[in-house]
Amino acid sequence: MAVIADKSLGNKKAGRKKWLNLWPALFVGPHLLLFVIFFLVPSVFGIYISFTDWDLFTAPAFVGFDNYKTILFDQDSSFHSQFYTGLENTFLFVLFAVPVCVVVPLFIAVALSAKPKWNRMFQSLFYLPSLFAISAVMIIWQFLLSVSYGPLANYFNISTNMLDNQPNAWIALVIVTVWWTIGGNMVIYLAALNGVPKDLMEAADLDGAGAVSKFIKVTLPSIKYQILFTTVMTTIAQFNVYGQPLMLTGGGPTDSTHVLLMYIQENAFGSGFSIAGISAAMAIMLGLCIMVVSAIQFYLLRDKD
């Protein structure tokens, strides 16, 4: 904003030009104003809050690194155990969900790009769930997996509850996540596969390469950037996991799927007394993890160049 204001002041003498220089403020100004109020200020303020004892409503008092010391090192504090439980569970979810969410849509896209019968219809179907609201998806799946009402018990005679024991709870969360999110990555791969040079494929055919070796030697190298792109985006998305464990497992059994974002939400906005300062410190740590992971992955991407 300052840049624009200076510019229009500086040109005031220039008469006609003064008019021209109001245009940037008119076009870029509205977004910039929103960006400052709803992105820039909260980002800076969020970092500051993590160094205070803020409770959302009274004035925050500066406490230095106390919040970080508590969540990172204070063995007696429940926030310490919450932080490590939440962080561990978030990492586990990322570890389980990301490979599946990257590979399953890849297989589907490869099959689609062979242009079999009903090709368009299949594609539409696989994309559809990614437009569904998470809470609606979780309600349907919660009943679907239920021992009392679901088809698993009714048709397949499975009496094990998928949601109240491990590793079933993780398996259920990963299945639901793949079902819900496959569409975006699938479309990215489809576009990439369309760009694989036909002559490369034909040359491989002439060499008598089988489908598998063609996939590994021709297809995969041609779309490696898109695969890295989807891996980065999927990892960032899964670090923010919240709705699936909240509504499907409730964080259970015994907090084994209680992810960090759930603790952040509960401590800041839950029913009890708000500990927004601690929550903000947890949020910063989660944000750091996300930034580190994306930095590593982007570095790898550059390395393979």
Binding site: W23, Y127, L131, A133, I140, F143
Partner: protein, 278 residues
Amino acid sequence: MKKTNKTKIIAFFFLLVMSVLWLFPILWGVFTSFKSEEEITAAAASFLPIHWTMSNYSELLIDNASSPVVKWFTNSLIIAVSHTVLVLIVVSLAAYGYTRLKFKGRDLLFGLLLASMMFPSVVNLIPLYSIMDKLGWVNNFLAVIVPGAAGVFNIFLVRQFVLGIPKTFDESAKMDGANEFQIFHLIILPLIRPVLTVVALFSFTGAWNDFLWPSIVLNDIDKLPITPGLQLLQGQYMTYPGIGTAGALIALVPTFLLYLFAQKYFMQSMSLSSGVKG
């Protein structure tokens, strides 16, 4: 030729199996929502309802004070439409500004905006609530309509489109005495309509599907949009699969209809965004 046929057949059967897995939860949900509770709890429940009933839907849609689904649905419509309109205005203006106007530091400024997209949004959650509190927007629709319009990605997307429009178009208009707003309005805006359609569709579905933020900043039950509202509904109808699935399906209707009529735009946008970055 024989070889490609074999590949096609294998691909077809693989996709057929996968599509059954993908379709099953949706169909099961739809059929369950039309079953009576007795039918659902019966030991050998059939896949299709034996007696189709609307009772689960009427339970939710007629005078339900603890899960006011009709109210939630209306709230969601108001929020998602307002948000979409706001985004379209802000984004198209800014995209024009960052391509066609010349001002000091323009590209640096845009570069900084792009870099801000790397910043993890989870950090903003708590301070943004405080800003809503200061603005008096807690429990106000503005809190879920306005902040999302601060995003940068859509500007980036539309900017790419504007860059592809030849400058000669603007120049001839300028010769005729058009000012910047007239060029934007009469020349650029009609040409970027396809990409604005994509932005509109994603803004609408994004606002409709938003879950965590509205559940934090709107806590009056009558102010909730339907997506966070369903969390309350889930708690209330924990042991009523018919009503639960009916509520979920009501929430899916608008996005499903949009998809039905504008599928190609949804598909396009994903390849747009990856093509640029990948």
